[in-house]
């Protein structure tokens, strides 16, 4: 049986950074990923990564404290404040290290890393490499993996997390796509860095086709609690046609949001000083309101207008945006405004863990978008997700390295065998028999329900109806038709497993969103329009039971800033 001291699941920024940390600590580590690492969705991040470097002449007074304050205020005070401080005070060091490792950041005239303004931030602190920051960071970390000879098992698909009867993590069970065989992989520690879950919203998301949330669901099924998953970020600017991301950097560089009357409508919702650079939850709600109140173009979308920035600035700072617009919608943003709508972008919630990536199960860690530390609370600021992946990827890698130091270096087979049987059962249950339901139809319907009933604005009646529909879809899923019977490279089987993960998370979201009778950050209810700190200044904790998700709570760590009304 394969055994490594640490198994990292996921080859994006958080996973690679965790693996590098373990490797540098001399630990036997391997990365398991369903994709080759450079295919990970971290590489699609565009606008930048926050750190109070104070390189920008307008940001000379910036500090990690100010960064933490902006993060916590942006989170609508649901972030754990100590964790946010750890993230923002490590940020400058993290950026320097990535730069020292070769990351090709854009530069200021003095040769320092360039920084641009981003939403909800008091200073221009978003470090960037044109509008391809995620790509540059991911390539850099992959390069370091090559340098340090980190073992990578690519196109292995994790389907089970093994936690034994002593509630200790023992490894994972995976499907090796190359052979179609299920394999047990023993480990003393497992770090999940499996990324986001945007595809719960069908095609209406900026996320990759592979960002389905199956990793979070796999941990959840194994008994690890999930936190705050009802908070989903809708990015204000995604292409009307196919929801591809148009970076916040477009507005950071001075782009306008314009309704059908040519009006910069953000003035109705935030102060003149903030305008397009409000935090994402507010800008998305504003845009949605414009469209709902009849000020959208053709009633459906608004414009992101970059024309006044001029050809040179667009080509220098936003070349990727221009390329995407030309390739996918045939519009050159130098000449025409870009039709955009808000859509699902990021899961603030995820696997419940602390600032060291530790979950309540010894030996099981989580980092990156699949995790919930929580530093984003109920609304993440742009530029903080790349930062989170690297800061907490490293911390979880380091902490897992300490944890495995004195552990016996061999697999505990009993627990793994049990998990293997469970995974086999799960595959048989959804794949065997003569089902009649088409899984892809179910997937599309799940997406439609999420968009319609759990969108930017929520109400009890709509959500109840949505939950009802989800329950019916879950029932139908039990009767889906058999897979493609091939063994190796059976993608049909994979997409159906991804759907199983989807259905699990959507149920949690529905229950949690209904349960939370307030509006906070990205969770915005028309029937409870105010934030309610007396009752709801707490994290939601979801646990898996045979009867369905069980909801509990966890205290928010305050201590630095008293919750106040958010004004921008």
């Amino acid at each position: 049986m394969i055994f490594h001291d640490i198994i990292v699941v996921g080859g994006g920024l958080a996973g690679l950074r965790a693996a590098i940390a373990a490797k540098m600590n001399g630990v036997d580590v391997a990365v398991i990923s369903k994709l080759h690492p450079v295919r990970s969705h971290s590489g699609a991040a565009q606008g930048g990564i926050n750190a109070a470097l104070a390189n920008n002449p307008d940001g000379k007074d910036d500090t990690p404290e100010r960064h933490a304050y902006d993060t916590i205020k942006g989170s609508d005070f649901l972030a754990d404040q100590e964790a946010a401080f750890i993230m923002t005070s490590t940020a400058p060091e993290i950026i320097r290290q990535m730069e020292h490792w070769g990351c090709p950041f854009s530069r200021f005239e003095d040769g320092s890393v360039a920084q641009r303004p981003f939403g909800g931030a008091g200073f221009p602190r978003t470090c960037y490499g044109a509008d391809r920051t995620g790509h540059y960071l991911l390539q850099t970390l992959f390069e370091q993996c090559v340098k340090h000879q980190v073992k990578i098992m690519e196109e292995w698909f994790v389907l089970g997390l093994s936690i034994d009867d002593n509630r200790t993590c023992r490894g994972v069970v995976c499907l090796d796509l190359h052979t179609g065989n299920l394999e047990m992989v023993g480990a003393n520690a497992v770090i999940f860095a499996t990324g986001g879950s945007g595809r719960m919203y069908g095609a209406k998301t900026t996320n990759a086709l592979t960002s389905t949330g199956l990793g979070v669901a796999t941990a959840f099924w194994a008994g690890v609690p999930v936190k705050d998953i009802e908070f989903l970020q809708f990015h204000p600017t995604t292409l009307f046609k196919n929801n591809v991301l148009m970076t916040e950097g477009c507005r950071g560089e001075g782009g306008y949001l314009i309704n059908k009357d040519g009006e910069r409508y953000m003035s109705r919702y935030v102060s003149e000083k903030v305008m397009e650079l409000g935090p994402r939850d507010i800008v998305s709600r504003s845009t949605q309101t414009e469209i709902e109140e009849g000020r959208g173009v053709e009633g459906k979308y608004v414009y992101l207008d970059l024309r006044h920035l001029g050809a040179q600035k667009i080509m220098e700072r936003l070349p990727g945006i221009r390329e995407i617009c030309i390739d996918f919608i045939g519009i050159d943003p130098i000449e025409k405004p870009i039709p955009i709508v808000p859509s699902m972008h990021y899961t603030m919630g995820g696997i419940d863990c602390d600032q060291d990536g530790r979950t309540e199960v010894p030996g099981f860690y989580a980092a990156g978008e699949c995790a919930c530390v929580s530093v984003h609370g109920s609304n993440r600021l742009g530029g903080n997700s790349l930062l989170e992946t690297i800061v907490f990827g490293r911390r979880s890698g380091e902490n897992a390295s300490n944890y495995v130091k004195d552990k016996e270096k061999k697999p505990q087979e009993t627990g793994l065998k049990k998990t293997l049987e469970e995974v086999k059962g799960q595959l048989n249950a959804i794949g065997g028999g003569n089902g009649k339901e088409n899984p892809y139809e179910i997937r599309d319907e799940v997406g439609d329900v999420m968009v319609k009933h759990f969108g930017i604005f929520r109400t009890e009646s709509e959500m109840k109806e949505g939950l009802d529909k989800l329950n019916k879809l879950k029932e139908r899923f039990r009767d889906i038709r058999a897979f493609d019977s091939g063994r190796a490279w059976n993608f049909d089987k994979l997409w159906i497993m991804e759907l199983a993960g989807n259905l699990c998370l959507t149920e949690c979201i529905a229950l949690g969103a209904l349960n939370r009778t307030e509006s906070r950050g990205a969770h915005s209810r028309r029937d409870y329009t105010k934030r309610d700190d007396a009752n709801w200044l707490k994290h939601t904790l979801y646990r898996h039971t045979p009867e369905g998700p069980q909801i509990g709570y966890k205290e928010v760590q305050l201590g630095r800033f008293e919750p106040e009304e958010r004004k921008y």
Binding site: L35, A44, E99, W101, E109, K147, A208, L209, W489
Partner: protein, 243 residues
């Protein structure tokens, strides 16, 4: 009505190589990737193809479409005519259908030491400064998504499995031209060989097909110049000073 004629082959499942024709729905504005999904979901769940981002940044879906290597996700069906032929990337072993073994491709990439080997110890509590002008020297070289389109299109890669390939050579120039890198000589020694830059016959296929509009041909030409300088210097025992 458009048809996709797709290369099918499943060595482990006993399916011999052949082409299979699939009729597409009359929908307008589909990409090739969407068409492949439509087939997987409606006609043939055994079809194997890679994908992830669907926005031309992850490099998963490079295939051969009507005579040219392209990304399936950014190629539109409509302008391609009635019959569209899709094959996997060439010069690489086929796992199944459109899924190839990228291992040789990444092994070549690794040969050029694709990571910064800094000139000097990093300064304490600040970044290496790099002027705007120096940063410009690696513009576009840093944008390669390692999709393999250039490699598939390269006839030299077909004839010489040891050829480093346009992707690895472009990446080599990315480090050679980086003002922070101190291993210029070391890297030139790797590429200035018969399986490196001198194997390239300047055929321009790689430049033509690159879905990110990069110029591997030009990069190789630059490396050739630098390699010649390096060779001359090594003849006189001066190569070290080239760093």
């Amino acid at each position: 009505m458009a048809y996709l004629k797709i290369f099918r082959y499943d060595p482990s499942g006993g399916v011999e190589p052949h082409f299979k024709r699939y009729e597409l729905p009359p929908e307008k504005g589909m990409t090739i990737l969407e068409a492949l999904f439509w087939i997987l979901e409606n006609k043939d769940p055994s079809l194997a193809f890679r994908c992830s981002c669907r926005e031309a940044v992850c490099g998963s879906c490079a295939v051969h479409i009507n005579g040219e290597y392209r990304l399936a996700c950014k190629t539109q069906v409509d302008p391609l005519g009635e019959e569209i032929t899709i094959r996997p990337l060439t010069h690489l072993p086929i796992f199944k259908d459109l899924v190839v073994d990228m291992k040789p491709f990444f092994e070549q990439y690794e040969k050029i030491k694709p990571y910064l080997i800094p000139k000097e110890e990093p300064p304490e509590s600040r970044e290496y400064y790099q002027s705007v002008k120096d940063r410009k020297k690696i513009d576009s070289l840093v944008d390669c998504i390692l999709c393999g389109a250039c490699y598939g299109s390269c006839p030299i890669a077909m004839g010489d499995p040891d050829y480093l390939g346009p992707h690895a050579l472009l990446r080599a120039l990315r480090f050679v031209q980086d003002s922070r890198d101190g291993a210029k000589t070391e890297r030139l020694a790797i590429v200035a060989t018969e399986h490196g830059v001198f194997r390239c016959h300047t055929i321009f296929n790689c430049q033509k097909v690159c879905p990110k509009d990069l110029d591997p041909t030009g990069a190789i030409a630059k490396l050739k110049m630098k390699s010649i300088g390096f060779k001359i210097k090594s003849m006189f025992g001066l190569a070290r000073s080239a760093g």
